[in-house]
């Protein structure tokens, strides 16, 4: 068997068999599903109804005005002085007293309860009374209820992207931003995470002193490449697990919700499913779903895997070179910053790219190999011309080849250097050592 394959296999298998790999592979999809499912679950949950006694001295409110999913109002004639003493026995959650002159004195409304009432309840009660009082005041000012209703409009624009041939797709810039942000963040974290795993692997081999045995069997560049590819495949495996598990989990929760919604339709005339849809649309995942509907998911997925893998190859070869030059992780710190700066830079640039994906800065950030993985992925949900994508990908491959060439030259010298403190000057000398 080819020796690089053996190295790849060892790097891959030893990492994938670790417990920590499976914990992080399982935990992330559960978290993502939770972010998506919990708001819907909360919206669907059967709310507990609260019993509220209302003492309306103004006789302004009718029971038709007091419709609320969570609150059940009962009119009472017991004055508040009396009520206060009997409250504990009454069985009501709250007692609302409205003064006779509520139109002139809106602050005279009192809510009594034995416990501190929730903010939700207070707001619901206030909203109901406030609506009625406003209506009444408008009516007195000569505005009919009909006119009042008609003025309650919501503006919610739909954004539409127009392609060159005039085709239209509905898009959501908020959703694109969220999707871009998520992908940028994942790339940022994983580039650092897997890059430093490569570096630590190299340091381990060097400080273990197994390196000399290994490179008497394989060439240093084979070992370096095998390690980088092996760790990268671990990363890809993790992504695939994340994607498959997340899709699986969200499908399952979706099915559960759907069957629940169906059950409530019979009783509630489809109100619950509408609630659910609203909840989905209001939640951030709903926005993302909208974008996912309007974008080319396979393209994004393939591009994401490409930018992760090649970007990772580029950075991890540099991390490997650093690992080879030092003897401990602490000693590595003086060098890692130089590799981390472009990663952090691209993440900062990505914030800007997200705001204005078609600006000159965003364009260059998505072309230059060091910043392009994160920035191109951030731009992609907004739509990017094909030539730009192809150019950016090609430049990234070229960047990787250049970086790995430099790294391999430092690596082959560095792994055999002991007891000599590596300096920048030293590293640059290694570049020109003969085999």
């Amino acid at each position: 068997m080819n020796k690089i394959l053996l190295v790849i296999q060892r790097e891959y298998v030893t990492r994938v068999l670790k417990k920590s790999f499976w914990i992080s592979s399982l935990l992330a999809p559960v978290l993502i599903t939770a972010i998506y499912a919990i708001p819907i679950w909360l919206a669907m949950k059967d709310k507990e109804q609260k019993q509220i006694a209302i003492f309306d001295q103004s006789h302004l409110l009718k029971s038709a005005d007091l419709q609320d999913k969570e609150l059940v109002f009962t009119f009472t004639n017991v004055p508040e002085q009396v009520y206060k003493t009997q409250f504990a026995k009454s069985g009501y959650d709250a007692f609302v007293s409205i003064p006779v002159d509520v139109l002139a004195n809106p602050k005279g409304v009192h809510i009594y309860s034995s416990k501190n009432i929730g903010l939700n309840l207070k707001e619901s009660v206030e909203r109901l009374i406030q609506n009625k009082v406003r209506q009444e005041l408008m009516y007195k000012a000569g505005i009919s209820a009909k006119v009042y209703e008609d003025t309650q409009v919501d503006i919610d624009s739909e954004t539409i992207t127009v392609s060159e041939n005039g085709g239209e797709t509905s898009s959501s810039s908020a959703g694109a931003m969220i999707l871009a942000g998520i992908m940028g963040l994942i790339l940022y974290v994983t580039l650092l995470l897997y890059g430093s795993q490569v570096m630590n692997g190299v340091i381990e081999e060097k400080s273990n002193r197994i390196i000399e045995v290994i490179i008497s069997s394989v060439k240093p560049y084979q070992l370096m490449l095998g390690k980088i590819i092996g760790v990268g495949l671990v990363g890809l495996t993790q992504f695939l697990l994340w994607i498959v598990l997340t899709i699986g989990l969200t499908q399952v929760t979706g099915k559960i919700y759907a069957s629940k919604a169906k059950a409530t339709i019979a009783v509630d005339q489809g109100k619950a499913s509408a609630d659910m849809r609203n909840a989905m649309q209001d939640s951030p995942m709903g926005e993302v779903t909208k974008v996912l509907e309007s974008t080319n998911i396979p393209l994004i997925l393939v591009a994401f895997l490409f930018y992760f893998f090649v970007g990772y190859l580029l950075y991890s070869s540099l991390f490997a070179a650093i690992g080879s030059a030092v003897e401990s992780a602490t000693e590595a710190q003086q060098f890692t910053f130089i590799v981390m700066i472009p990663i952090i830079m691209s993440f900062l640039l990505a914030q800007y790219t997200m705001q204005d994906p078609d600006s000159t800065v965003a364009f260059w950030a998505s072309m230059i190999p060091f910043t392009s993985p994160i920035n191109m992925m951030v731009r992609l949900p907004y739509g990017v011309p094909v030539w730009e994508l192809v150019l950016s990908m090609s430049l990234l491959v070229v960047g990787f080849l250049a970086c790995s060439w430099i790294s391999a030259r430092i690596y082959r010298v560095g792994i055999l250097m002991y007891g000599k403190k590596a300096t920048w000057k030293e590293l640059s000398k290694w570049l020109f050592y003969k085999g």
């Binding site: 030893t14 197994i210 000399e212 290994i214 008497s216 069997s217 055999l416």
Partner: protein, 296 residues
């Protein structure tokens, strides 16, 4: 010759590691590579193992110019050696054997033989972390020899070994030699040179300053001195110089040019009763110190 090293040169940025090195390493022998620290032994070994390349000169391995494919026929135990700590012993040895080009099944079979031979059967599934230093050394030794290399290179193999393991190692080296393997053995422990080596080369300041068959080298450094044990009083005899006479009944003598041993003995027994007569063979320790200080 298994290895012919011709005009080998290697320089690093700040110093010359090897300069015009010529060595012939015969097949099936144990070849001792001697020299003080920093003389260039490790540099030479790293070129033979193709970890680094030479600046000039060439190496023939079994008659062919040394190339990458030969790496699989070389077993190398470096002076600074280690293992992957988290891997299991069996897994790790299997990996190292496969890196030497062994097919998996064959590697497993051979490894099992070694585990039985060195009486470490129960270690296969132990993580290296749990092994004592001596156990790790055994593991490393197996990794070096399991693929049955034509050339075995051992750099200071005895350093860190306890006497029991050192003995085991010595026996294994001799057993491997008996199977026809050539052993290149770098050390500055002279007693192991005397015990094991057939041929030696001494490197100092990047150059070979002495090489040849072990006995022949020792003969070359003989000073025509003889150690005697005797009864009686040793008086000065013309033609016989007393080099040292530190305790009664024991002395080291040197005979003048042209005087044979029989002749000398004939002279001596006229004065003393000779109990023992023995030529002083210089130890490698003495040769080492002498040659190194001469060439410094």
């Amino acid at each position: 010759m298994l290895l012919s090293i011709r005009n080998l040169g290697k320089r690093y940025a700040d110093h010359v590691a090897l300069s015009d090195v010529n060595l012939e390493i015969p097949k099936g022998k144990i070849f001792g590579l001697l020299g003080p620290n920093g003389a260039g032994k490790t540099s030479l070994i790293r070129i033979i193992t193709q970890i680094t390349g030479p600046d000039s000169g060439e190496i023939l391995f079994d008659g062919e110019p040394l190339r990458l494919a030969h790496a699989d026929q070389i077993g190398y135990l470096p002076e600074e050696r280690g293992l992957y700590k988290k891997m299991k012993v069996g897994e790790q040895l299997l990996y190292l054997a496969q890196l030497k080009g062994m097919p998996k099944d064959e590697a497993i079979a051979k490894l099992k033989e070694w585990f039985i031979r060195l009486d470490i059967k129960e270690w296969w599934n132990k993580p290296v972390d749990d092994l004592s230093k001596g156990m790790q050394q055994k593991t490393q030794f197996i990794a070096t020899v399991v693929h049955e290399p034509k050339l075995l290179i051992l750099d200071e193999p005895f350093s860190g070994f306890d006497p029991i393991n050192a003995n085991m190692l010595k026996d294994e080296i001799l057993a491997i030699k008996a199977r026809g393997t050539t052993v290149l053995f770098s050390t500055h422990r002279m007693e192991s040179v005397e015990e094991l080596c057939d041929e030696i080369a001494l490197i100092n300041h990047a150059q070979v300053v002495l090489s040849g068959n072990k006995d022949e080298v020792q003969n070359r450094y003989k000073k025509n001195q003889f150690s005697i044990r005797f009864e009686g009083e040793l008086l000065s005899i013309p033609g016989i110089e007393i080099v040292s006479h530190e305790s009664a009944g024991h002395a080291i003598l040197r005979f003048s040019e042209g005087m044979g041993t029989n002749e000398a003995i004939a002279l001596l027994i006229q004065h003393i009763r000779l109990l023992e007569f023995k030529e002083v063979i210089p130890s490698f320790n003495d040769i080492f110190i002498q040659v190194v200080s001469e060439t410094n």
